[in-house]
């Protein structure tokens, strides 16, 4: 299954905000790997640990973690919580083919 749109677009750059090594953060990082596996070079997800970079979280206005954000657009599009449902995440960020069965 290739849920990713075809074409030579530049990769979509998302940011994953986590805080330290909590169970929620670990789940989010596992989901990140699955998202990258699903999208190949069409997706890039930078991980930001807000304990290490509190300034980055403050600048972006992140209130809770894990948050997955597309900050290339204004206002930014964000998901917060558990990203294990990969299809739902791909849909939200417009990375899924319309005709792909869920």
């Amino acid at each position: 299954m290739d849920p990713v749109q075809s074409g030579a677009r530049p990769p979509l750059g998302l940011r994953l905000y986590v805080a330290g090594d909590t169970p929620g953060a670990r789940r989010a990082i596992e989901s990140r790997e699955r998202l990258l596996d699903a999208c190949g070079n069409r997706l890039d997800i930078e991980v930001i640990d807000i304990l290490a970079r509190p300034d980055a979280a403050e600048a972006a206005g992140i209130l809770a973690t894990p948050t997955l954000a597309d900050e290339a657009i204004q206002p930014p599009r964000r998901l917060i919580g558990d990203f294990s449902n990969i299809a739902q995440v791909l849909d939200f960020f417009g990375l899924r083919k319309e005709d792909t069965p869920s």
Binding site: R78, I80, D82, I86, F92
Partner: protein, 367 residues
Amino acid sequence: MTPGSSHARDTVAETVAPHASAPDFSRSSFRLLIESSADGVLVVNLVGDVLYANPAAAEIFGKPLDVLLHVPLGRPVVSGDTAEITVHRQGGKPAQVEMRVVDIHWDGRQALLASLRDISVRRAEDERLRQSQKMEAVGRLAAGIVHDINNLLAVVTSGLRLLEKEIDRDPASPKINQLIEGMLERAQNGGALTQQLLAFSRRQPLSPEAVDLNQRISALTQMLERTLGRGVETRCVLDPALSPIHIDANQLDVAILNLAVNARDAMAGKGTLIIETSNATEDAETDSGSFVRVSIRDTGCGMSEDVLAQVFEPFFTTKGENEGTGLGLSQVYGFISQSGGHVRIDSAVGEGTAVHLLLPKKAKTEI
């Protein structure tokens, strides 16, 4: 819609009130329920802007209601029933929050209602319980290790006496070096034992990692032999093709130690303890193939059905006063469940007991 306006409040009542089934509840009753709920309630639109927040939600986020409204928080998503999130408050401690999400309509549009429960206190209590269970296990280990350290001290003491005599007899004797080397080795053995105990008792949060279970069990068995005493023969039957698992290795040690000590007591200090590992085969009750199995078998007195029904309850024990606290098996059950695994017990009076731990394999990465 302005923060806290009557329109905002009525919309909550309209959204949540079951019009037909509970006609006795007025809108204001529902408004009161939500406004005074201890759980935080947020209504968020599909792009993630906060449309409504109750006072408990404002408290969880550490922000006044009017600031929280229209904040681009993000669309809340869960997998299964709940998700755990960390809420970061300026100048305050982060809160661990359990979040539930349901679809609703708000002002005629699709939206999401997120209910938020601050579980920071519960998490801290869980952590304290885990630590006390671990310290109980450390006490058991220490009993075995103290005996060993006494033996090592006795060897070192008699070695020093021999050394004294040898120096008196012939200060250039080659035996002097041998005696010193022997005592140094014994002292290093003692140091290794206390290091194991220290590593075991260190306070640390539950932290799953990829674990080579066979290697872990082999290392633990050396310590178990001391703790269980000479009457108990320990045998390991380890599957060389075992898949790696994803679990907190320290808590797993505590669980196996607890089961081994129970086995020793069931055997009254005499019998055979067998630790087996294998890849779990198809199992109708679990996701087949996703687990590895560790079985701890003993040749002890076994358990009746009545006892079996209660073994996982905290503080349940068949041991005498000052012999057991009843926290051992509850630690095993709590830890294994929390790790996404299962515990099964096969036992019958007079036929011994086998406890099977089904432990999740390393997390899959495919969709």
